[in-house]
Structures are given as structure tokens and as C-alpha cells.
């Protein structure tokens, strides 16, 4: 039976390097998924994984053993990913909404004036690939806000504080993100 996380953490606190390696091997994959969702690219996600475990290593004595180590790590990962986005130049964060037009469709098209044929739908890329492509088109701010709202279940108030933007800006980032996702996915759902 695999050792419980709390026991492995206790050994890691005692200086057992192999114990911390066990924690890395157990949790790095799930941390990566959190990081990738927010950052949107592999290189940044891997950096966030590194930073997360570095921080966890240095703060191991703050971890309360009755809590879930995985959840604690995810919280650190989320903060690291947001820090990484905050460290970006502002122009990268505030992408214009003209990206909506760049998607090549209009709402009229989506509502049926030029509906795709069944053959086109069948020949089209899997919905999963569409989701991935649509997420990649979100600006860093839109993606961070949307991921936090949709996947992490954070309130708009929490998102605005985490991203250090006004509540209205957080709200509109989510609106823009959902609009883009709808434009990209409606013909296929």
C-alpha cells in the first residue's frame, strides 16, 4: 500500500531527499495540468511546476498534515501561474477584442445564416482539438480569468484580487473569453 502523502511529507521535513522526490513524482503531473490551463503553453507550465515545487520545498513546515497535500500544491501552482502572467508586459495582457473578428466568423454565421453541413461537421476536427485551439486564442488575461472562473470555481471578486485588476475588468475578461469560446465551438456542439 503506497505511503500516505502526510507520512512522506514528514520524512521530507526530516531531510529525506528521496521523500521529496516521491512527492514530485506523485503530484507533478496534476500541477502541470493546472499550470497549463492558466498559462496556455508548455514552457511556461513547466516553469510553473518548477517554481511550485521549489516553493513547496521551502515552505514544507507550513503544510498542515490534516489538509490535502495535493490541494495545497495546487494553490501554490495557481499563485505561481498568476505571478508569471503578472510579470508579463501589460501589452501582452490586454489583447484587443478584434481577435473576435480574426476568428473568421460572426454571430450571424453561428446562428445559422451559413450553417455547416453535416458532412463538414463530420469531417471537422474533434471538439477537443477545437477547445484547445480556442483556448490558445484567448489573451493571457482572458485565459487566466476564464480558467479561474470555469475550472477553479473562483468568484469574480477573488479573480479580480488575484489578478490585481478591477472587478469590472475581470468580469469583461470572462465575457470576452466566453464569447470567443462560443464563436469557436457553437457550430460543433
Amino acid at each position: 500500500m503506497p505511503e500516505h502523502d502526510a507520512a512522506v511529507v514528514a520524512r521530507a521535513r526530516g531531510g529525506d531527499g528521496d521523500a521529496f522526490r516521491q512527492l514530485v513524482e506523485r503530484h507533478s503531473r496534476s500541477v502541470y495540468k493546472v499550470a497549463f490551463r492558466i498559462t496556455g503553453n508548455q514552457a511556461d507550465a513547466e516553469d510553473v511546476v518548477q517554481e511550485t515545487f521549489l516553493k513547496a520545498y521551502r515552505q514544507l513546515d507550513r503544510f498542515e498534515e490534516r489538509a490535502s497535500f495535493g490541494t495545497w500544491l495546487h494553490r501554490i501552482a495557481w499563485n505561481c501561474a498568476v505571478d508569471l502572467l503578472r510579470a508579463r508586459p501589460k501589452r501582452e495582457q490586454a489583447e484587443e477584442s478584434d481577435t473576435l473578428e480574426q476568428l473568421g466568423t460572426t454571430h450571424a454565421t453561428v446562428t445559422g445564416q451559413a450553417a455547416p453541413t453535416p458532412e463538414r461537421l463530420m469531417a471537422s476536427v474533434q471538439v477537443g482539438d477545437r477547445v484547445k485551439a480556442a483556448m490558445a486564442r484567448l489573451s493571457p488575461l482572458e485565459r487566466a480569468a476564464f480558467v479561474m472562473r470555469h475550472f477553479e470555481g473562483r468568484s469574480i471578486d477573488e479573480i479580480s484580487r488575484a489578478l490585481e485588476i478591477r472587478e469590472n475588468a475581470a468580469k469583461h475578461s470572462i465575457f470576452r473569453a466566453v464569447r470567443k469560446m462560443r464563436l469557436a465551438l457553437e457550430p460543433y456542439v
Partner: protein
């Protein structure tokens, strides 16, 4: 008055204030068009939820540990502030200095001269091609040593040497990506994973474990790819360069 798309998003996420939420619910009960719009939004959200998550490769955990372990001993630095990332995004001059330094550590011939601003462009690229070729030579030597080892660590390349190769490889891979040279970047990416695995192999790894790694490297044809790429880079480095209106092979 119909609910706007943005209002439907707030309703979907339960972010509406009490009076607005009550009005939205009352309207949805009476309006088929808004109900249909909400249903479409829900289908889109369901598709997003059902999309498979990106999965890192099967070496991810090992690669993460191999990269993390030295950083645990270097307190106070952030992962994206560690030198290789800063240099990769920094000036080309810094990259040439680093490449010359690495080249100088492993070859008996002097490192290539650092180019001035006036000679950047094709000449700069040639220096990088030569440096990359040298790096591939050293990497091939380390891989051959490791693959041909039959008695555990005695025939394996030194760990510090492999770690230096990892750091240099990362610089070249990121430069190739920045230059849009996908083919080179892909081979360097394969190389980096293997080098990291070799560097991360535990000193207590059994001969059996090392033999499994050796077979994996051999069957992948990685050595063949390295040799082909090195030959191609040598050819590119020999092509004439137009400099001040005259051809030169430098």
C-alpha cells in the same frame, strides 16, 4: 427585454445579485429564445468540460525531478529567472559568449571569435551553426559512451559533464525555436530529454536499469538523427555568405 449573452454568463456562473437573478429566472421561464440561447451556452461549456486535458509525456516526472534537484540547492531564484531562460530571451551577444565558454571547456581548439554588431546577420548565424555543431559533437561522444557501456558507471559519462550539455542544449533549442527552425528544435528536444534522464539517473541505479535506458536510446535512432543534423549544419556553415557585397566562406 431579452437577456444579453453577458447576463447569461453571469447567470450560468451564479454571479448575479439576488434581484437580478430573480428577474433572469422569471424571464427565462417565459422566453423560449433566451432559454435556447442559455442551452447553447451550456452545450459549449459542456464541450469545454469534456475536452481531454493536455497530457505531458511519460518522462515528465523524471524530467521535472532532474531539473528541480539542482535548483533545490540554489535558494532564492525563481524558475523563470534561472540563467538559461534569461539568456535564451536575452541578447544574441550573451548567447554567443555562453556558447564560446561551453565550447572552450570541452575542445582543444580555441572558441570561435565573438562577432561584433557590424558582422551580425549571416555571419552571426554561421557562428551559431559552428557552435551548435560542436555541441552535437560533444553530445554524440557522451551518448556513445553511455550507450556502449557494459559495466555500469565505469563507462558512463560524468554527471557534471552531462548537466553542462543539458544547459547548453536548452540554449540552442530555445534559439532554434525563436528562429523558427522547428526541425532542429525537435531533435534538440529529443536530445534534451535523454540527457536529462542520463543526468538524473540515480548513483544507485542498477546495471539493469542503465541497460534499459541504453536500449531505449539506441532503438530510437537518436544517435543517427544527431549525426545527420550535425552533417547538415556543417554543410550550412560552409555555404558562402554575402558580406559587404562580396562572397566569403569565413
Amino acid at each position: 427585454m431579452h437577456l444579453t449573452d453577458d447576463e447569461l454568463v453571469l447567470h450560468y456562473y451564479g454571479e448575479m445579485r439576488e434581484p437580478e437573478e430573480a428577474r433572469a429566472c422569471a424571464h427565462l421561464a417565459e422566453c423560449p429564445a433566451c432559454r435556447e440561447n442559455l442551452a447553447t451556452l451550456q452545450r459549449v461549456m459542456a464541450a469545454i468540460d469534456s475536452a481531454p486535458l493536455v497530457e505531458p509525456d511519460s518522462w515528465f516526472e523524471q524530467r521535472t525531478w532532474a531539473r528541480l534537484q539542482p535548483a533545490l540547492a540554489a535558494p532564492g531564484r525563481r524558475a523563470w529567472q534561472l540563467p538559461w531562460r534569461a539568456i535564451a530571451w536575452g541578447a544574441a551577444a550573451a548567447l554567443i559568449v555562453m556558447a564560446a565558454f561551453v565550447a572552450g571547456r570541452f575542445t582543444s581548439t580555441p572558441a570561435p571569435a565573438i562577432q561584433t554588431a557590424e558582422t551580425r546577420g549571416p555571419v552571426h548565424e554561421r557562428v551559431l551553426l559552428v557552435d551548435l555543431g560542436d555541441h552535437l559533437d560533444r553530445t554524440e561522444a557522451a551518448l556513445v559512451e553511455f550507450v556502449s557501456g557494459t559495466d555500469g558507471h565505469e563507462a558512463a559519462p560524468g554527471r557534471a559533464r552531462v548537466e553542462d550539455l543539458v544547459a547548453a542544449n536548452r540554449l540552442y533549442r530555445q534559439t532554434a525555436l525563436a528562429n523558427g527552425d522547428r526541425g532542429v528544435a525537435d531533435v534538440l528536444d529529443d536530445l534534451e530529454r535523454v540527457l536529462i534522464e542520463i543526468a538524473g539517473a540515480s548513483p544507485e541505479a542498477s546495471t539493469g536499469d542503465l541497460d534499459v535506458m541504453r536500449r531505449r536510446i539506441d532503438t530510437r535512432g537518436l544517435l543517427f538523427k544527431v549525426r545527420v543534423m550535425r552533417d547538415e549544419l556543417q554543410q550550412r556553415a560552409k555555404e558562402p555568405v554575402r558580406r559587404h557585397g562580396q562572397e566569403t566562406t569565413l
